[in-house]
Symmetry: C3
Subunit: 428 residues, 3 copies
């Protein structure tokens, strides 16, 4: 007999224990940063006649934060509603694990690279970073969609957020590389972590639920809400934590052009691969977004609109070529996040290696942090970017492997093979 899928004790117990732990840790570790603390912000203000509240990071970052927030909760949530009988779980579990992950990520990221005298300082930038980390978990969720219980998902989030923070620390703090839009830290990591988890959780008899693993007319329209919101706000996503001024402006614009070019490639190839020349909603829902992933690293550099469009076009093209059926990747995250993420890492490495003061002028140090230290060298920059990709792949695959085996324990109320992709199991 299959294990019971009753969540009555498991889910409440886990949620409450986790939230209590979070609250205790926040109480002991987390403090307002200089821009959110009443005393600190008003101490630091200049005494000049001009009011300088507009310099609070809130006004630079908050609109981007809200766009990212929409991507996390509406974008990812609705993107996964394409399944005919899994809309409640797609939006609902997305909601649950995102709400947990953003709190846990605040702690983990703060612990690894935000400690000030033993305290984690929080503000709008940490909120964006927490949402970014959450995005990575939701990417992995796409791979195991329909085959996992909410308890499993929360357990996965605990491990993935932690490893994400470690990987991010190695890349950004130790190797000192650029990855503002997270081609590596978010997309490559989230994709390969999730792919490994779903591989370990492989179900030989999943075809018993095959009839529910498809869309109906209106579920595809709901999914398009997710797609379009992700597509529109991707410029905000990639630019959300770049430096103020030209880097943020440039990143948004590069992403905009990359996505536009990617969309034309997507429609072209979607019609081309179909014998009758018909477009496929699955392609439009996913491949059109690859352009945003693929400029996640290089977006803040002087990639030019021209370069961004080439990258976007390529990203839209490669999003068709690998079938991941054998690892049961429900949402096709390998196509949407995996390969475009790797492409983005490579493009970032090349663009970094080609950087020069002739092109960037005084703006060089605002993109590459180590210029100010005098240790900057474009070729080694490019090399570190490439090493980072390898580190990320290693961390993701190894982490996914361990996490997958932990999730295999028969204690989480996972759905039986006959009831995958079915809301009725966990929803009234």
């Amino acid at each position: 007999m299959a294990e019971s899928t009753n969540m009555r004790l498991r889910l409440p117990l886990l949620c409450i224990i986790l939230e209590v732990i979070l609250i205790i840790l926040f109480g002991t570790l987390v403090e307002y940063n200089d821009d959110t603390h009443a005393m600190l912000w008003n101490e630091n203000r200049t005494d000049s006649a001009t009011r300088n509240d507009h310099e609070n990071e809130f006004y630079y970052r908050y609109p981007s934060f809200q766009d990212v927030h929409v991507m996390i909760f509406v974008g990812f949530g609705f993107l996964m509603t394409f399944l005919q009988r899994y809309g409640f779980s797609s939006v609902g579990f997305n909601f649950l694990i995102a709400a947990f992950s953003l709190q846990w990520a605040t702690l983990m990221q703060g612990f690894f690279h935000g400690l000030h005298h033993g305290k984690i300082h929080v503000g709008v930038t940490s909120m964006i970073n927490a949402d970014f980390c959450t995005g990575s978990v939701l990417i992995s969720f796409g791979a195991v969609l329909g085959k996992t219980s909410p308890v499993q998902l929360l357990v996965m989030a605990i491990f993935e957020v932690t490893l994400f923070a470690v990987n991010e620390f190695i890349l950004l703090s130790i190797l000192g590389i650029n990855d503002a839009g997270g081609s590596m830290t978010i997309h490559t990591f989230g994709a390969y972590f999730g792919l490994m988890v779903t591989r370990v959780l492989y179900r030989p008899n999943l075809d018993k639920s095959k009839h529910r693993n498809s869309s109906v007319y209106h579920s595809d329209l709901f999914a398009m809400i997710g797609t379009i919101y992700l597509w529109m706000f991707w410029p905000s996503f990639n630019s959300a934590i770049t430096n103020y001024g030209d880097p943020q402006h440039r990143t948004a614009m590069n992403t905009y052009y990359s996505l536009a070019a990617c969309t034309l490639a997507t429609f072209a190839f979607s019609a081309l691969v179909n014998p009758e020349g018909k477009l496929d909603m699955v392609h439009i829902q996913n491949a059109a977004l690859a352009g945003g992933v693929a400029v996640g690293t290089a977006g803040e550099m002087m990639l030019t609109a021209f370069g961004a469009m080439i990258v976007g076009f390529l990203a839209g093209t490669i999003s068709y070529h690998v079938c991941c059926c054998f690892i049961q990747d429900t949402c096709g995250i390998h196509n949407l996040h995996g390969m475009p993420g790797v492409l983005g890492a490579v493009v970032g490495a090349v663009t970094a290696a080609l950087a020069s003061p002739d092109v960037y002028g005084h703006g060089l140090q605002r993109v590459f942090a180590d210029v100010e230290t005098g240790k900057w060298n474009p070729q080694s920059r490019g090399g570190f970017q490439a090493i980072s990709l390898a580190v990320t792949l290693g961390m993701a695959l190894f982490g996914g492997l361990i996490t997958g085996f932990i999730l295999k324990l028969p204690i989480y109320g996972a759905p039986p093979d006959t009831h995958c992709f079915e809301d009725g199991l966990y929803w009234e």
Copy 2:
């Protein structure tokens, strides 16, 4: 025989008369404020070389305004589409009464606390305030959803907006209390006003329409659009009219953490109260939002993320405990706005009473307006906050009672008991 529900004369007549009155009053009373008037804004600019257009309140407030605007029209509108045959009315009537209320609120709020030499000055802050007042009307709409004609709803809005403005004037201008996110002025007021109205309009034979008072699969997904937008933008809602700088930043962040904690509590208790441990969409759609309501007053104070999470967790917990069936509260606004609003008022009173210059430094006067006057005293502050809750409850219940009886007159084309929760009555 039931009264006719034909709207052909009633609705056009009421809409046109109201709009003509609004236009005349706007023509005689409303003026651009210093930041929107071509002459005034350009007069007041400093003569220094630095351009100071960025100091126009537009750039501080407009992104928040748009988020609030989305909550009012998409958030509230779609939240109520959960009923299987009432989606047109939910979104459509929400649209109508919101469009009316924001105009009427501009006048009423301006009359009570925005008069300058006999003129009402308008700008983005008055637009946010008008949207806030509209939110209160839409909360009440949730209680009477499905049982009222659009004419009744407009009449309700006329009275509720007026009383809202009076209550807001007493709280903010006379008692001088803090309530930036409107735990009291918006949520408590709107909820208890609406509950009293629906109590007065009690229909003993409503079970004749019982079969339509439930959701279908896709109507629940539409409702989740509303929920998620409300949830995401609540940080913008609570921070929209706080002071610039640290208060706005802090409010957004406190709300973010309160909502995240509330969401975990919601999923926990939703599974716990169900015999089979299944989650209930009604809970997720509503209770997850209580965390935003409950930090509406204290959000701008030095509540800390820790405090916000405790409040959010509590709010998610209490949102299950009272059944309001006997007053026919269609959307369960008592759970979503009533109790969390009261909780928010209490939290606000306590947090205000605990405020001290040791914690806030020079920022104290930016949160508590009376510090500058030298009359500040935290304990009496806390007391006034508590008194405000009592005033709000009194105003809401009394106002709802009167309005309920006015709405009982058989002249508005209310739906018969057999045709409640049915779009076909008012829609082609």
Copy 3:
């Protein structure tokens, strides 16, 4: 036999050729502007101690850009999902032609009025302008919705974007008129261009597809998502490229009040024209938006909230009076964009003719560009505004005529009369 509607070669070929041409032209012609270029932005920064990144146009324009972007992709896309079996095409083709048009528009608009030493400079303002031009194409799409293949739509976009840029150049650069929200350049142009195209493509036997040219319950709810987003963000649309400070603030506010008044008029007349007094979703979805169109020109002027409400109310009223059935205007763009656009042009001409330094003070030159040159004369200003309307109508009708005949060639895989308004033709 009808021509084949197979898109397998036609669509990929056209998409890839277009994108390759775009990429080549971007590579040779497009450069970062002063606010996005790493070297230029950091060169131009003042040497004073105060950081001035907040003066980057990104922070003034990007939130508006994102709102406009949502209108283009979600607003227009979902507004057209009202048809029962055409949701994939509405959102999908909207997505495709918008992604193409914004790239092509960047080049065309840059070529006509953005050249700097032979190069087109791009930044957030050019992104908004490209989205505006795209909006015009999507308006025309509304007229031919359901009766055209994606290849036809792309060909239409090529011509329409080009003519849009020419018309915009004549109006803004030669005649020097005001049209920040595009009553003329966007709405009037897009509407009459589309109406002429659909007239030329007239299908005498379209009633063979009549049964699909209507909505079902949930398709109307999807369409309301489009309507509400357009309605909410219209203030951002009209104010997106006005001057910083008071003009942007004032435009947003005027639009807000115009839309609110328009909504009441819409509900009034929708109930009035129905024998049973029932509201019609088609009216609500469309007419409520006319208020935004009608203040597209005058919005940035000292129209006052009073004036804006009168204009909005009128716009809501006239949106019912002309039936365009004989030209097969699927979405009723004549009502939503055509007549309100003309009304907006007239209101703009009158408001410009009434402008005076007594009202605008030093702000006059920030609204009317020619004040600084000393050539300003309100009556001739008004005259030029009126001439612009005539030019726009001429360009739109003539351009639509030519384009219509080009689209009549039997090489694009247009749907047969029996399969209009049907997703199955082009979608898997």
